[in-house]
Structures are given as C-alpha cells and as structure tokens.
C-alpha cells in the first residue's frame, strides 16, 4: 500500500512539474538574436585588445570592426521577429499532468512486478538457512532453531528440537542449555527433566554433576525413569561406591525388559565394573553370556575370540599411520583386556590428539572409553576441548597440518558410517583437493556419486560443487 502511495504521489508531482509552464502567468519571451549581439560585442572587445597588444595593425583592426558591425546589424534586424507568448492555461496543464502521470503508471503496471519486495541478502538469511537445512545441513538447522527460539522464547517445541539437534552433533553444553529452557517452560515433566539432567552429565564429560544428581534422585522418587536409575548408579561409581553402582545397575537390569534400548549399555557397565572390582558377574547379571563372563574376567577363554593382531603389530602400524582411529580403539581394547588399563587409556589419549579436529571420531573414542570402563578408572587426559582447539591456532605449521589431516580422516570415517550426508561429501572432496590428494578426492567423489545415485538433486549439487573441484 505504501508502495502505491509513494508511486502515485511521485507520478502526480512529476507530471505536475512537467506541466508547470502552463500554470505560469502570461509572459512574452524574446526568442531572437540577443545572444548573437553579445557575441559581436565580445569580438569587438577582442579586436581592441589585440590592437592594444600590437598583435594587429590599425588598418586590420578597422577592417575587422567594420565587418563585425555589419554582421551585428544583420542580426539585429531579425531581433523583432522572435517573440513568443506564454499563456496560462489550466486546462492544458490538467490534461498534460493527467496524461503523463497515467501513462507512466500504466507503463509501469504493464512492465513491472508491482509491489514485489526488495530481497537484500541480509534479509534472506533465514531463507538461505532453510534451504541448507533442507539439504541436510545440521548446523543450518540449528542456526534456524536458534533464531526461532530467540524470536519466540516461549515455544517448548523449538527448545526441545534445538536441544536434540545440539545433542546430535555432540554439542552437549549447548544441548543442556536448550534443555534447561525447555524444562523451565514444561515445568515438572519427567521426560524433560531427565533429558536435561542427562545432557548436563554429558556436557560434564560423562561425570554426573550435583545438579543432575538432584534431578535424578527426585525422578527416582516419583517415577520409574530408567535413565535416572542408570545415572544415579553411574554417580555412585564416580563417587568410588562401586558396590552401590553395581547394585543400582543390577536392579535396573532386573526391572527392565530384556530388549529395552538401554540394556546393552547397562550390561556392558555391569561387566566392566565386575571385572574392575573382581567379583562374579553372575551375581549381578544372572543371564550373562559366556563372552560377557569372559570379559568380566570370570572364566577366561572359550568364548573369547583370539585377537586378530597382537598389540605389538598394531603399535607398529599406528606408528607408521596414526590416522586410523579404529586401530587405536582396538589397541586400547587389547591392552585393557590384558589388564593394562593405564596403557589402554594412553592409547585413547594419543588417538584423541591425532583426531583433535574431528568430533565424530572423538565421540567414537569416548564411546570406546566408556565401553571399556576406562573413564571410571583411569584419570588420563581428556580429549581435546574448545581450549585445545584454540591452542591449535598457535600450533606450529606441522602440528596444524597434522590436526587438519586428523579432521579430514575423521570426516571420512564419519561418512563411512553415515553416508547420506551431502555437505559432508562435498567438504571431504574439497578437503582432499585442497590438501593436494587428487586420487583420494576422486575416490571420495565417486563414492558419493554411488551413495546418491537415486537422488537427482543431490547428484546435481555434487557435480556442480565437488565435481567442479576435481575437474569433472
């Protein structure tokens, strides 16, 4: 509406200005040769100046002046011919104004996209993020959700989704913060409280903080929330109350259906803890498999598969190529089984250093650590955190290259497990070509093409971005 008002007023004023001469009072205008006469006067001045400067003689000057006068007279004769009258005419003005304004507006309406808004890039951030999020980019989805929550901080759903998205990429600190908002809005909803407390724990490096424990304790009193039971037991373990922890997990295992989603985790922790405090796992887990019994240090042997490689060969291989996180985890596993908890923790710590920039691998390492129960027993160095990343900016050139290598290797590993990640593949191809590894870049590109072979849109994106990078 404002658009049409501005447009209309502009059209009317401009058209009125065009017609303005018809609204002036009646005047007579000389249209003749007055200008020409002033020129002849200038020419006479010039002749006189030249005469004074001695550039021309008296006779030349006289001749020139005579000629100029003759022409001036000729011009003056036509002076009275030129006369025009300017008459006020409201009707003419009105007609001209209306015709001009209507023609301009009409022409615009025929050609223009009337009322189409401006779309400066700054105002299109949301749209761009939406498009990227639709293409599967989690960061963009998170950015969008952050915007949504800042615009509408009272929406439980937005905070809830944001918290889960943060958790998905392993950013548990941000996830806990988002859950806190969700919990404030939802009040005493047990499910929310439980998720919040869990996020706090994860953000705290899987150590149950007091605030989380209070929430879990409250939940245990009022509900049968499995998560609360699990983490309370974990908290006991972390407080060196290993018996209590085992009892808690055992109780949870008894109370849960055998196929409950958390059961593998609970069983694993029971097995690890049994091994650690050297007790019989069957006391706590009556249906333990032979393999579990073996892992718990009970009956060594039969079910245990012989290791494919010895620790020594693994160490050797890792010394040559440290960019193989699975081997690191395997090494930690071997050492842990051999009762060398410290050595196992050390292997994982080294792995963390090599993959400092690869969140996915760090997550895998943390999972392995927990699976082996190492996080409870060994106080080895924790994995790289934000401060490590900041330190990376002060690294030497070699260290940085090493860290970048680690990031790329981590990305490759992640894509192997979660291949339907278009941005990930593009980034991998770009990383390889930036590092000058053309062959790897090509391999990655071809793998990506296979992964997305049934998705024309994704193929297009791949060809345009990644394909262009390697000259396809």
């Amino acid at each position: 509406m404002i658009f049409w008002i501005v447009l209309g007023v502009t059209a009317a004023l401009a058209a009125l200005w065009i017609a303005w001469p018809f609204l002036r009072s009646t005047t007579f205008e000389l249209t003749g040769a007055e200008g020409a006469i002033s020129i002849y006067r200038d020419q006479m001045d010039e002749v006189e100046r030249d005469l004074k400067a001695g550039l021309i003689s008296q006779s030349e000057s006289d001749a020139a002046l005579a000629e100029i006068e003759r022409r001036a007279l000729h011009a003056a004769r036509s002076l009275d011919q030129g006369m025009a009258v300017s008459q006020r005419s409201g009707l003419a003005a009105l007609a001209l104004t209306a015709a001009s304004a209507l023609a301009a507006v009409g022409l615009y309406m025929a050609l223009g996209s009337s009322g189409a808004p401006d779309q400066p890039l700054a105002a299109r951030k949301t749209e761009i993020l939406t498009r990227q999020a639709d293409a599967g980019d989690v960061q963009s989805r998170i950015q969008l959700l952050i915007e949504r929550t800042s615009e509408n901080p009272d929406s439980f759903d937005d905070w809830w989704t944001l918290a889960r998205a943060h958790a998905m990429i392993g950013d548990h600190t941000a996830s806990a913060e988002a859950y806190r908002h969700a919990a404030e809005i939802a009040g005493d909803m047990p499910e929310v409280q439980s998720a919040y407390a869990e996020a706090m724990t994860l953000a705290n490096g899987n150590k149950v903080p007091t605030a989380a424990r209070v929430i879990f304790e409250q939940l245990v009193r009022n509900t049968d929330d499995a998560r609360a039971h699990y983490y309370l037991a974990l908290a006991k373990a972390q407080a060196q109350d290993f018996e209590g922890a085992l009892a808690g997990w055992a109780a949870l295992a008894r109370a849960s259906a055998p196929d409950a989603p958390w059961m593998p985790l609970v069983r694993r922790d029971i097995v690890n803890m049994a091994r650690f405090i050297e007790t019989d796992v069957l006391d706590y887990l009556p249906d333990a498999t032979p393999q579990e019994i073996a892992q718990s240090g009970g009956d060594p042997g039969t079910a245990l598969l012989p290791p494919l490689e010895t620790a020594e060969t693994l160490e050797q291989r890792l010394a040559e190529d440290p960019k193989d996180f699975k081997s690191w985890i395997e090494l930690a596993d071997l050492r842990s089984r051999a009762g060398d908890a410290e050595g196992a923790a050390d292997a994982l710590a080294q792995a963390r250093q090599h993959f400092a920039g690869a969140p996915f691998v760090l997550q895998k390492i943390a999972e392995a650590e927990r699976a082996l129960g190492l996080d409870l027993v060994a106080a080895g160095p924790r994995g790289p955190t934000a401060s490590d990343m900041a330190a990376a900016s002060q690294m030497s050139e070699d260290d940085r290259a090493d860290m970048i290598d680690g990031m790329v290797a981590g990305l490759a590993a992640r894509l192997k497990e979660q291949p339907r990640d278009l941005d990930g593949w593009v980034m991998l191809v770009r990383s390889y070509s930036t590092l000058g590894r053309a062959e790897k870049a090509r391999d990655a590109y071809e793998t990506a093409l296979l992964v997305f072979k049934d998705d024309q849109t994704a193929l297009g994106v791949l060809r345009n971005s990644a394909g262009a990078l390697i000259g396809n």
Binding site: P21, I39, R41, A64, G82, G112, D118
Partner: protein, 660 residues
C-alpha cells in the same frame, strides 16, 4: 519496494522524454512559449527518473539483492563495496542505464544553464535530445531491462570479471560515457539548427561548452582506459588498436575536428554546413562505437543471432538517428547561407586543413575497424586488421596534423601575412632541428623513425611556446609587460596552449615508448639478476596471501642501476575463486623519464617464475599529456565568454539599449 520504484522511475523518464520530444516542437511551430518551456521541465523530470532508477539499481547491487536479475548475474556478496557499486555499470543493462542517465544529465544541464539560449532554440535542442532518449529508454525497458526480477533468487550472485575489479577501469566508463553521450548535445544542436534554419555565431557559442565538456570527458576516459590496459593486462602495452579502443578514438578524432570548426563558425560565421555535418558525424560515431562495437553485436555474428531482438532494435535506432539526421542535412543544409569569406593564407584555411586531416585519420581508423566486422557479417571470413595497418596509414596523417597544429596559431583570421607566418615557422624549424640533433647526440639515438617522431613532437611544443611568447609581445616588450599580458590571456587561449602542448608531450611519450622501450621475458629463480636497459631487476621472493575476495602471489623485485638501489616493485598474480579467473597486477615505479615495470607470470616448475620486465621510456609523459589536454578543455570551458549561466550585469545592461 525500492527496486520497483526504480523501475517505475525509469518508466516515468520514458514518458517525460516522450512529452519533451513532442510538445515543445509543437510549441515552436505555434509560437506557444509555455509548450516550449515544457522542454525544460520535461528534461528535469526525465533526469529525476533516470537518476532515481540508477540509484535504485545501485541499491540492489549494494545490498546484494539477487532477486534483481542484473545483480544476480553480475554481482556477488563477497565483493568489496567499491566494486559492488562499479559493478552497476560493468554489465550491459546497467551500462545502458548509465548511458541514458548521462543523456538526461546533459538535458537537465542545458535546461538549467542554457538560459541564455533563446527558448525556441533551447526547446528544439531539448526535443531532439529527448528523441534520442525515447529510443534508448524504450530499448532498455523492452529488451534490456535492468529491473527484471527473479521469482527464485539464487543464494549468491555470479560475480564480476576480475579484470574489471580495478579502480582504473571502474571509473573509465562514466568518463567515457560523459564523452560519448555529451556529443549528443552537439548532435541535438546540429539537428535543431537544421530544423529552425538558424545557424550563426551565437549557435556555435551555445553549443561549444557542451562539446568541450564532452570532449574533455572523452579524452580523460580514453586515457584512463589506456592506463588501465597498461597496468592491468600486464603486457606493457597501452594501445592495441582493438575495436573497443577504436570505438572511443573515432568520436574523439571527429570531435576534435568539430571543436575546431565550431571556432570558425563563432569567429567568422563560416564553415556552417561543415560544422553541422561534423556534429552529426561525431555523435553517430559515438553511437556506432557504443552499440555496434562495444556491445559485441557486430564483432560476433553469433552474438547477434542469440539475441536478435536487441540487435535489430539497436540497428533500427541507429538507422533512424543517423539516417534521419543525414537526410535532414541533405534536405535543409543547402538552404543555409554560409557567411564570411577568407583567403588561402588564413586561420580559417588552417582549421579547415586540420578538419580534413582529422576526418581522414578518423576514416582510416573507421575502415580498419569496420572492414573486418562487415566482412565477417557478409562472408563469414574472419580477418584481423592489426597494428601494422594503423601504424602505416594513421600515424603519417596524424604526424601532419601535429605539424599543422604547430603552425595553425601563427595564422591570423581572414587574411594572414604569408611572410610573417613563414618567418615564424622557419624559426620553429631551426630551433626544433637543433634540439633534435642535441637529443640524438646526447643520448646516442640513431633510429630514423624515432628521431622523425621526436622532431614532430618537439616542433609542436616549440611552436606552441613560441606563440605564447609572441602573444605576450616578446621579445619586443619588457619582461614585466610580457608577464602581465601572459596573465591577461583569455582562458580560451590557455585552453589552446595547454591542449596543443599536451598533445606534444603525449606524442613524445608515445614515440619514446614505441621506439626505445626495453622488454625482457625470462624464467628466473629468486636471486637471479636480469639486465633491462640500464637497470638490473632481481626477483627477491614471493609471498602468497589473500585479499578481500581473491588469493594472490606478490613478488618483490629489486631494481638497481649501476649497483645503486632504485626501488622495489611488487607485481601480483591474483586468483578470484568466485569468478574462477586470474588477473595480473603489474608492479610499476614511475620515474620522470619512464616506468620500471614488472609482471609476475606462472611458476616454471623448478622453483623459478616466468617474469616480464620492462623499462618503458616516456610512458609517464603520455598520461601527463592526456591530463594537460583534458585540463586545457576544462580551462577553455571556464572562459568568460562561454561561462554558462546568467550573463554578467555589465553585459546585461547594454542589451536593453538597442530598443531605445
């Protein structure tokens, strides 16, 4: 909203131009002064519309509004702000809009500062000006609309040619257009003279400031373009005789002729028809230059075929404008009476010869430029007319022009004393010969063509200084009197001297660099010295870094002379990732006698780099000369008699007297 208002403003400009092109002419035929004055208000509204449209398009570029197709195709959000703005006219649609904006600007300037021009003449001139405008507004709105919107705007634009991301070329088009479009005023005055049948000294004087303004802008624009080619393209060359350059050079040559012949009309009421013809031709060449050559419509049959709508429209417009004007000329010119008579030995003859030579020079360039284009259109054969053709045919003619420009000011109007002129020219010859011989001896120069060129440039400089001395009365008067007279010289005389001296300086530069420059191309390892004329260039090291929207390798090249440090040059090779194009930035150190010039090429694989080193003698003189010529035009423009606006009170008073 802003973009759409800009689109509307452009429509408004077309309507204003339509009114301005018709109503005032009706007023002239009916003696209706109000209708005539609509030419002024129409021109003002037209300018408002064009300026608002241009501002809106600039807004779209600055805010990266990619819903505007022109911005989406030619801009990018990551560009520095300056190139977002200059990107507005670095594409077809935007440059067309700049073109009509300039046209409207000249119109509004005439409506405001042309009050001294009688309303009949002003109305006719502005109406003709508006007719050109109507054609081009329609062309823009119907075939090249810069405000076309995209329903699904892309996430980012496609960027801009990195070669154009440079301050030199960024401001080259506005200046060039100031020239091209400025000549439309000459065209309008010429057509108005044919329509009204009135050509007299006053007419020439009214037209002159506009021609001067346009000509100065064109001079500066050409120099800036040449300067850009010199340091950006990285070949050490400054003029390639390619169609784009020739397109701007042809109007300049004919415009220079027009500038001189208009003086004859003003002073002597002679050469009337010839001047009108030159005015029409100058603008016609501007049009041909902009739309046939620059647009690429004729350079490639293919381009024409892909967009026949634009091509046909342009051809039609040119046919109407040029053909119409020439037809009008053929019909009306015989009825015009030519005034003053003059002797063979006179300034009139001198200027006429100047005109003929400049026209011939322009004809040579025209043939060399258009022949390959026309041949390709007709037969499909591709030929290229290169520098040898132009050097052999154009340069001799232009050499004679320069010699003539030296003698011309010696001639007085109507009837010159032959003996005086010959005596003064003889003195010029003696001094110039002595100077040329001195230069040849001191610098050990033996190149015959080079010395001939040096003689011609020196001749013009000596003759110009000699004429200044003569005008001051030297050597007959005391130094004090001479100085007083020097200061008292009219600005138009200063324009003449600055212009001619500038041409001499620029020519000297062109000759020096053509004949005596040193060029060395080699692969060097860092630390290897290379001898370039009297200088030694050494590549020190190469640093890789990033600019605002590009990656770059910057080399440091040390230059010494006889072991003494002269300077360090920093040539660059840039890579623009968005546009996927490289560009070079030459490292240049300007000394008074020439440029030290280094270009960094590709890495050679063995740790070495391809480098091109130049010692370009005389190049700074070319830019200095061009600046002097432009300055001359501007100084002449400020001459009291040409000053546009209200005449001074002293001259107003006696104006009323003839009626007594």
């Amino acid at each position: 909203m802003i973009v759409e208002l800009g689109h509307f403003a452009l429509c408004l400009a077309l309507i204003a131009a339509l009114v301005q092109a018709t109503l005032p002419l009706w007023g002239v035929s009916q003696g209706n002064a109000a209708a005539m004055r609509v030419a002024d208000t129409g021109a003002q509204v037209q300018f408002f519309g064009a300026a608002a449209a241009f501002a809106a398009l600039t807004w779209a570029f600055v805010t990266s509004d990619f819903s505007v197709m022109t911005a989406a195709l030619n801009s990018h959000s990551g560009k520095p702000m300056m190139y977002k703005i200059t990107g507005v006219w670095a594409n077809h649609e935007g440059s067309m809009l700049l073109w009509v904006l300039m046209l409207a600007l000249f119109g509004v300037l005439i409506s405001i500062f042309g009050r001294v021009i009688p309303v009949t003449m002003r109305a006719t001139v502005l109406a003709v000006q508006a007719m050109i405008g109507v054609g081009f507004y329609a062309f823009i709105l119907l075939t090249s609309n810069p405000f076309e919107r995209l329903p699904m705007p892309p996430l980012d634009g496609q960027g801009m040619n990195p070669l154009l991301q440079d301050p030199g070329v960024a401001f080259h088009p506005p200046l060039l257009y100031l020239g091209y479009v400025g000549f439309s005023t000459a065209f309008s005055f010429a057509v108005a003279a044919l329509i009204t049948g009135r050509v007299d000294p006053a007419w020439a004087r009214w037209m002159r400031p506009w021609v001067l303004l346009a000509w100065s802008g064109l001079t500066a624009g050409i120099a800036l373009g040449s300067w850009w080619a010199y340091y950006e393209l990285g070949w050490g060359g400054f003029w390639f005789w390619d169609p784009v350059e020739n397109a701007s050079f042809m109007p300049w040559l004919i415009g220079t002729a027009l500038l001189h012949s208009a003086i004859v009309v003003e002073k002597r009421n002679a050469l009337l028809k010839w001047t009108i013809l030159l005015a029409i031709l100058t603008f016609s060449l501007s049009l041909i230059g902009t739309f046939l050559v620059r647009s690429g419509i004729l350079t490639s049959v293919h381009a024409f075929a892909t967009d026949p709508e634009r091509g046909v429209f342009i051809l039609l417009l040119l046919a109407i404008a040029i053909g119409g004007a020439l037809t009008l000329f053929a019909w009306r010119a015989p009825k015009l009476e030519d005034g003053g008579v003059f002797a063979v030995w006179s300034r009139e003859t001198g200027l006429l010869v100047n005109n003929l030579l400049l026209t011939a020079a322009c004809g040579i360039v025209f043939v060399g430029t258009m022949y390959p284009l026309v041949l390709e259109v007709i037969t499909g054969d591709k030929i290229s007319v290169g520098a040898p053709y132009f050097n052999q045919s154009f340069l001799p003619v232009f050499g004679i022009v320069l010699l003539g420009a030296g003698v011309g000011p010696f001639l007085s109007w109507k009837r010159a004393r032959k003996a005086d002129v010959l005596r003064r020219a003889g003195l010029t010859t003696v001094i110039t010969l002595a100077l040329t011989a001195l230069i040849a001896l001191v610098f050990g120069l033996r190149d015959g063509v080079g010395l001939l060129g040096a003689f011609i440039a020196l001749w013009l400089a000596v003759a110009t200084l000699q004429d200044i001395a003569f005008r001051c009365g030297l050597p007959r008067v005391s130094a004090g009197t001479a100085l007083r007279r020097l200061i008292g010289l009219p600005r138009s005389a200063w324009g003449l001297y600055l212009g001619h001296f500038g041409i001499a300086v620029a020519s000297a530069g062109v000759i020096a660099v053509s004949v005596w420059k040193v060029e060395v191309i080699q692969t060097v390892q860092p630390g290897d010295p290379t001898q370039v004329g009297p200088y030694e260039f050494t590549l020190l090291d190469i640093e890789n870094t990033t600019g605002p929207n590009y990656q770059t390798s910057i080399a440091a090249v040390k230059v010494t002379r006889d072991g003494e440090m002269v300077t360090v040059l920093f040539p660059e090779r840039r890579w623009y990732p968005v546009e996927r194009k490289p560009s070079t930035e030459a490292g240049i150190e300007t000394l008074w006698h020439g440029d030290l010039y280094a270009v960094l090429g590709d890495p050679a694989g063995d740790g070495g780099f391809v480098t091109r080193y130049y010692y370009n003698t005389g190049v700074p003189w070319m830019w200095l000369g061009a600046a002097l010529i432009t300055l001359g035009g501007m100084v002449s423009l400020t001459d009291r008699r040409l000053r546009i606006g209200a005449p001074s009170a002293k001259r107003r008073q006696p104006l009323a007297q003839p009626a007594e």
